[in-house]
């Protein structure tokens, strides 16, 4: 079973995303900001991180840069999931090492399609 870390400061978004991912046979773990997520990755690297952009205590892009600089073994797939839906943000995320990008609002079809893009379903 693949393991996904869902990083978002909204509890509701985390719950919705986790439910969809669990339906798609993922084991999920939640983190409410980048710092908590980085600590979780240091404990056990997930297969994938679903990542919000705007969060307190290390935002999404800071987390991603820190994660890609870590030497923690396997490189997890990182999929941004954010309301920052403009090309400048998307380009910045890809440049920092994001694998895919989900523009909120999302639904199950979008998450499933994006997971297919990165080869996880």
């Amino acid at each position: 079973m693949k393991h996904c870390l869902v990083v978002d400061d909204s509890r509701v978004i985390r719950k919705v995303a986790c439910r969809i991912l669990e339906d798609l046979s993922f084991a999920t773990e939640e983190a409410e900001d980048g710092a908590t997520a980085l600590a979780a990755c240091r404990r056990a690297m997930p297969d994938m991180v679903l990542l919000d952009w705007n969060m307190p205590n290390m935002n999404g892009i800071e987390f991603l840069r820190a994660l890609r600089n870590e030497r923690l073994g396997d490189r997890p797939i990182v999929v941004f999931c954010t309301t920052e839906n403009d090309i400048a943000h998307i380009t910045e995320a890809l440049g920092a090492g994001a694998d895919e990008y989900i523009m909120k609002p999302f639904d199950r079809d979008i998450i499933e399609a994006k997971l297919a893009e990165v080869g996880l379903v």
Partner: protein
């Protein structure tokens, strides 16, 4: 909708578009026809159906369009595009090296996602820069869908179903919350309203036909007729791409399925050497 109106609607759809309206879809009919009813000013479906029986041509056309299936997505059934890129296209580039011309037809393009996906694959190969002429023709029975395809403007939900983010960034521009296909890709596709029951003569010779997830909505006779006419316009070494779940076994003897490539069909009279090479 009462059973007589349903039977009449089924008949008119079959005659005008080949669409087979199944009884189990009856509950969807009123919802699909509600926008037409409002547009033409009818107070209920029954009065619209009465007018339809009087031979109201523009109403019949609008009803037919409303009942056609327009669901699509960029790179829908990814494997089909991989087969096109990795099997069909390389072979044709060898076969047509002297003429440097390819003709590709999307038979039911809906809002344009399929032909634009093909255009992106072709664009990756940089064929135009190498002197190739590509005729990419896309048709649909619905004038509304063809207008949307020409417009090339998609919602943020539509561009997130099947389209990798890097393709979105490199092939679209943002307009508010929507995304518009690049002018370069838009110019690669010629769109036209076309009913698959009509003559295919204007298409002349075509090297590749995409006719995916269309035949399944037709009755057997219409499926066979469409396949026969595709056979008439497809070049002897051309390819037909159907939906991966569609089967034409017993319907068209002029086509044979490629091995290891569900949905990809060749002409059965194609030289056997080439068929083996693609397996």
């Amino acid at each position: 909708m009462n059973s007589k109106d349903f039977a009449y609607l089924s008949d008119i759809l079959r005659r005008r578009s080949g669409l087979l309206l199944k009884q189990e879809k009856a509950h969807l009919v009123e919802g699909r026809l509600a926008p037409v009813m409002r547009r033409f000013g009818f107070k209920d479906i029954a009065s619209m159906m009465r007018e339809l029986r009087h031979g109201h041509e523009s109403l019949a056309s609008a009803v037919t369009e409303a009942m056609t299936i327009n669901d699509s997505a960029f790179f829908r059934d990814r494997k089909t595009f991989e087969e096109f890129r990795d099997i069909v296209l390389p072979e044709l580039l060898i076969q047509r090296a002297a003429k440097k011309r390819l003709r590709i037809w999307c038979a039911a393009c809906a809002a344009g996602q399929e032909p634009y996906s093909i255009a992106m694959v072709l664009n990756d190969s940089k064929l135009t820069a190498q002197g190739w002429t590509i005729d990419l023709i896309a048709t649909d029975i619905s004038s509304e869908m063809v207008s949307r395809a020409v417009e090339g403007l998609y919602s943020h939900f539509e561009v997130q179903r099947g389209l990798p983010i890097r393709r979105l960034v490199s092939n679209f521009t943002q307009e508010g919350s929507n995304w518009r296909i690049s002018e370069q890709l838009r110019r690669m596709v010629t769109f036209r309203v076309f009913n698959l029951l009509d003559s295919f003569g204007w298409l002349a010779e075509v090297d590749v036909v995409f006719c995916r997830n269309v035949l399944m909505y037709f009755d057997l006779k219409t499926r066979a007729s469409v396949l026969d006419r595709i056979g008439e316009i497809l070049t002897p070494d051309g390819s037909l791409l159907l939906g991966p779940a569609e089967s034409i076994t017993g319907l068209a003897t002029e086509f044979v399925q490629a091995e290891h490539a569900p949905g990809l069909y060749y002409r059965s009279k194609m030289p056997p050497l080439r068929r083996r090479a693609t397996a």
